[in-house]
């Protein structure tokens, strides 16, 4: 096909125009996303930065906003997320290994697959109701740290399973074949080849799932986590509170001082989140370096 010079110029100008429009739309979308995030951060910082102090971190909640602190909820959140990870990570990765490496591609495994994808989209409050019925009532765990962690584990399981499967799927079949051709059993191939290669992806996906869980208030409120706790949990079955619940509680108070407290607690929660994400990046980076040798 041969174009006349004028036609060609016209066509190229049109293309450049479209190119520009799409670039503009993409940048605008980015600015809207980042802008709203920045507004949130700045707003929380202006309101809450004044409340951040050692006293704020090391005090229990109180009726007087200037004396109140987040010790019990911060400790509760850390315990809760550690316990959740302890339960959800092995179960989730194990389920992913089964589905990806062992399960034959039959109708029932496809059914399980679709259901897991759907579970990832179920609202967290539904998990709260499940946790209330199953852990709090049926298993008699009461409103304990353990009941909360198990509920959170259910919430993040689908995400961990899906991201782990995706990570394992990126391991090339040639590596599996090479391992099997050397007389490795299926499990040896998974343990020595598939998991090490998939680990960065599995870790990233899991830590992001845990960061989601850390900000959840709804399921914890549903299972009846307390909002006013003036002691630290002393065991798995102790009652507990968490940062999102504390924030929720303070925001709903009429006094201005509590709103500042809520903003301060939001900042602390954000710092915890950032630390977790930094950990994910660090782990992934270190692992990739080890693979490169």
């Amino acid at each position: 096909m041969k174009l006349a010079a004028a036609d060609l110029r016209h066509m190229l100008r049109l293309r450049r125009g479209t190119e520009f429009v799409f670039k503009f739309v993409a940048v605008a979308a980015l600015l809207i996303a980042l802008g709203s995030l920045a507004t949130l951060l700045i707003d929380a910082f202006l309101d809450g930065a004044g409340r951040l102090s050692w006293q704020f971190l090391t005090s229990f909640p109180s009726r007087r906003p200037e004396e109140a602190g987040i010790l019990s909820s911060l400790v509760g959140t850390v315990y809760l997320i550690l316990l959740t990870a302890l339960v959800a990570f092995p179960v989730g990765v194990g389920a992913a290994i089964y589905l990806e490496e062992y399960a034959a591609s039959r109708w029932y495994s496809r059914l399980i697959e679709v259901n897991i994808a759907n579970l990832a989209g179920v609202p967290s409050i539904i998990y709260g109701l499940l946790g209330l019925e199953l852990f709090v009532r049926a298993l008699g765990l009461e409103r304990s740290l353990l009941a909360g962690a198990l509920t959170m584990a259910l919430l993040v399981l689908p995400i961990i399973i899906i991201s782990s499967r995706e990570a394992m799927r990126t391991v090339p079949p040639s590596i599996r074949e090479a391992s099997c051709a050397l007389g490795a059993s299926r499990w040896q191939t998974i343990w020595h080849q598939v998991l090490p290669l998939a680990l960065p992806g599995i870790l990233t996906g899991s830590i992001l799932a845990f960061s989601r869980a850390i900000g959840e208030a709804a399921p914890l409120i549903t299972i009846g986590a307390l909002t006013y706790i003036a002691f630290l949990p002393d065991g798995l079955l102790a009652p507990f509170t968490a940062l999102p619940i504390q924030i929720f509680n303070w925001v709903s108070r009429p006094q201005k001082g509590f709103h500042a407290n809520a903003a301060g607690a939001i900042l602390v929660l954000l710092v915890v989140l950032l630390l977790m994400n930094a950990l994910a990046v660090f782990l992934r980076h270190r692992h990739q370096q080890r693979l490169r040798l």
């Binding site: 590596i175 074949e177 090479a178 099997c180 051709a181 050397l182 490795a184 059993s185 040798l293």
Partner: protein, 272 residues
């Protein structure tokens, strides 16, 4: 792991009998293979002789790779794959229900088309198989790694960087590393699925020399697209087409005086 003594007996038997009549290491009887509903192999029967190189040639999609991958049951990994017929390895049917595919793969090693070293060090690549078999003693591992790398003609190039990543090697070196890795578990048969198709002529020549050298101790089956390669290295050649074995015989005869017209057309480059 298999003891060295049993290996020696087998080899000795082979050597002694070779003077009179060639001993088949692998006998294939009426082998059919399917991927799902697609039949890839139809009634293949042939015998692979001990301490010889058997070449499998034929146009793309003719079932060469499927065939060679049936010989160590590596195709078991592929969902929907099934076979009918028998593959006898020293008289034992590989597909009998009581046979453990892991044992088969330890005794029948494989080298793949694309070099596929593990993303580990050179040393760990070679030591992988022996370690899986429970060999932990560092002194014996060191010896075995050195011996395997020497057999694969790679030792001199890598002896100073055994702890470096295998992925830093060149393509030809990687493929020789894969051969060393396969030899480290001391197999009796080595299957090579187009081992040189991703390599340049110099690396190819090195691998071919290596194969001729290894022939003293190993039975080898090599799939190749390269007719000259088949002619250079193999003792017998099988010509496959459309999932069927068209012709099988001594390489010299197949290339000078083929019985079938299609074989002649293929090796003279009139099609394919």
């Amino acid at each position: 792991m298999r003891s060295r003594s049993s290996f020696a007996i087998v080899t000795n038997n082979g050597c002694v009998s070779n003077m009179t009549e060639p001993i088949p290491a692998l006998e294939v009887h009426d082998l059919d293979a399917w991927y799902g509903h697609t039949q890839a192999l139809r009634k293949i029967s042939l015998a692979i002789v001990e301490q010889r190189i058997t070449a499998i040639i034929g146009p793309s999609g003719c079932g060469k790779s499927t065939f060679i991958r049936c010989l160590n049951r590596i195709n078991d990994l592929i969902g929907g794959f099934r076979v009918a017929g028998r593959v006898l390895f020293q008289g034992q049917d590989l597909y009998a229900p009581d046979v453990d595919p892991i044992e088969i793969r330890l005794r029948i090693g494989m080298v793949f088309q694309k070099p596929n070293p593990f993303p580990k060090s050179i040393y760990d690549n070679v030591a992988y198989g022996p370690r899986l078999c429970g060999l932990k003693d560092p002194v014996r591992l060191d010896l075995l790694v050195e011996e395997s790398l020497k057999k694969a003609a790679l030792w001199d190039e890598v002896k100073d960087k055994l702890r470096r990543s295998a992925l830093a090697l060149s393509g030809g070196q990687q493929q020789r590393l894969c051969i060393a890795r396969a030899l480290a578990v001391e197999p009796e048969v080595l299957l090579l699925d187009e081992p040189c198709s991703a390599l340049d002529p110099i690396a190819t020549a090195r691998i071919e020399d290596l194969l001729l050298d290894l022939k003293k101790n190993y039975t080898m089956v090599i799939v190749t697209h390269n007719m000259q390669q088949a002619a250079r290295v193999s003792d017998s050649t099988a010509f496959f087409m459309l999932g069927q074995l068209v012709e099988f015989g001594p390489t010299s005869r197949i290339f000078t005086n083929p019985l079938e017209k299609v074989t002649e057309d293929y090796i003279t480059g009139r099609f394919g």
